[in-house]
């Protein structure tokens, strides 16, 4: 079966995010005074073949642990949807 995975990678709350802080500044200068906090991360979309959704789950988690995220500084989560009609 074909699956689509959407992977969200974000810096851990304990890691400072200067990019997010700079975006927050920009938004405030645009007049969005209500901004409290901004964290910037990465979004990766990939499609793959797997027998079951649970196998797909395991493969994506392995990819995240070994390459897509660095567990020292980043958290990840992902959503998998069947791509076959």
């Amino acid at each position: 079966m074909k699956f689509k995975a959407e992977i969200f990678i974000s810096l851990k709350p304990t890691v400072s995010d200067p990019q997010g802080m700079t975006i927050a500044e920009g938004l405030k200068q645009l007049g969005f005074e209500s901004i409290d906090d901004v964290r910037a991360g990465k979004f990766i979309e990939l499609s793959l073949n797997a027998k079951t959704i649970s196998e797909c789950n395991d493969v994506i988690a392995d990819m995240c642990e070994r390459l897509l995220a660095n567990p020292i500084i980043e958290n990840y989560r992902f959503e998998i949807t069947p791509a076959d009609r």
Binding site: S16, P18, Q19, K42, L67, N70
Partner: protein, 233 residues
């Protein structure tokens, strides 16, 4: 003794490193293409600076899976000297040969400037010819050199004297003002626990010739060759 300089796609300081070994140390040196896996005959492996694989995903994240890295890991685990500079440091962290990680500079700027480094530990194969407390002037050139590790890891590397270089004032004062990128504890370079793998963000290979404004970087390369000389004699 023979040095190897690893070249990944996107490495840019390979020729500078080669020049220092060849023209300053007058020692044998060879380039090692990242697809080569045979490190037989080498005594020190240098991972130079640059932007391997375009810094895609995270700095060093893809390079660590290049074929040569499995051999570099085996070489390091067998006690061989491995020296990562700038992007090489990032690759060593990503590969787990060194603890921690280099993240985006806290001010988001790419900094290309001279920094002062205080040598914290001269009891290392990479600084044996220097004195602890000595301050050397070495340029940095990076956007992601902000050293980060969780507090337990940081405690451990401090306790084991794995911090070899800290950013300082020219007088050796360690403070926020003399920290060019936000690195925890002003860390500019560390070794692994065993001491045979060094990573540092500044570029000593760019200051080994009077023409370049400083020869302060030489002490590191001379320490390495001195160590190897003692090992092989």
């Amino acid at each position: 003794m023979k040095f190897g300089v690893v070249v990944f796609p996107g490495t840019w300081s390979d020729k500078d490193c080669f020049y220092v070994i060849d023209q300053v140390l007058h020692q044998p040196v060879e380039y090692i293409w990242h697809k080569d896996t045979d490190l037989t005959g080498f005594d020190c492996i240098i991972l130079p600076g640059g932007f391997s694989y375009g810094d895609y995903l995270r700095c060093g994240a893809i390079a660590r899976f290049s074929p040569v890295m499995k051999s570099v890991e085996a070489f390091a685990n067998a006690g061989g000297l491995v020296y990562g500079i700038c992007n090489g440091f990032q690759i060593l962290c990503e590969s787990g040969l060194l603890p921690g990680v280099l993240i985006r500079n806290d001010h988001l700027q790419f900094r290309c400037e001279w920094t002062s480094l205080r040598i914290e530990n001269s009891d290392s194969p990479f600084t044996s010819k220097a004195e602890a407390g000595q301050v050397i002037s070495v340029p940095i050139s990076h956007g992601e050199g902000n050293y980060f590790a969780d507090s337990a890891t940081l405690d451990e590397i401090e306790k084991n004297n794995q911090v070899i270089f800290r950013y300082s004032s020219p007088e050796g004062c360690i403070d926020r003002e003399n920290n060019p990128n936000g690195s925890l504890n002003n860390i500019a370079g560390i070794t692994n626990r065993e001491g045979n793998v060094l990573g540092m963000m500044p570029h000593p290979e760019r200051c080994c010739d009077p023409l370049l404004g400083s020869t302060d970087g030489e002490v590191i390369f001379r320490s390495i060759s001195d160590t190897l000389l003692k090992l092989t004699s």
